[in-house]
Subunit: 141 residues, 2 copies
């Protein structure tokens, strides 16, 4: 299990929170739906909390709720919050600087990487948590 599924989990979690309105939801409850451990969920909620997407309460009858309305949360924000990293990685080791191609390829790839990330961000920005929920609802029918 090495593939990064944090974004998928995050969307799932936030959709559940949206479903529960203003009620605090416990990490155990979310974990049951996502089918994983509560600590994994709390780790994820920590990242979403830092991104100001959710707020949590400690203590008895504590839990987590959305910090904003679903239509004010874009999928792009979620993606950035869990920092899934880049679509592709640059060279692990620097290429040979003695080679005319190796010397310059990194800069070109770096620019390309930025463009791709931007394209992904823009595509994700077309959707909000609210639109995800409405898709979940219509699928149910």
């Amino acid at each position: 299990m090495a593939a990064n599924s944090q974004f998928s989990m995050a969307v799932h979690v936030l959709a559940m929170l949206a479903h529960s309105g203003d009620d605090n939801v416990k990490s155990e409850c979310i974990a049951a739906s996502v089918n994983t451990n509560a600590v994994v969920i709390r780790r994820l909620l920590g990242q979403l909390g830092q991104a100001k997407l959710v707020t949590s309460q400690t203590g008895a009858s504590g839990g987590t709720r959305l910090a904003r309305a679903p239509h004010e949360i874009s999928l792009c924000e979620i993606y950035k919050a869990v920092s899934c990293g880049e679509v592709f990685a640059l060279h692990a080791k620097s290429p040979s600087q003695d080679c005319p191609v190796g010397r310059n390829i990194e800069a070109v790839l770096c620019n390309l990487q930025k463009e791709i990330d931007k394209a992904v961000g823009e595509k994700l920005g077309q959707y909000t948590l609210a639109s995800v929920i409405s898709q979940v609802e219509t699928a149910k029918a």
Copy 2:
């Protein structure tokens, strides 16, 4: 070193091959520029060969060359050839089917994944190996 840098390496390798025109290039030579082991390069060339982007010759004075002109090779093809996988992964374990959200979220995320991959493919499709080379050349100046 777990991040997938195969796409970066592939573009680098193909740019080198383009630089060498119709001459066979040895894996050792490419490996020196990419700063890695020749076997790693041969593995990569194997994938690029299956995608019909390069042709290789075994035996003495063998090596690899481009199968097509650089302007006929889009970055999207390269991306697909090295199968970098998806931008984000779906759930590792299936969500709980007892939860109204969990039951339907997978399909929604799957569609989203396809859309993102399509957006990435389209963006990459705007570039060819030739355009990468021209960027490398101008950076050199």
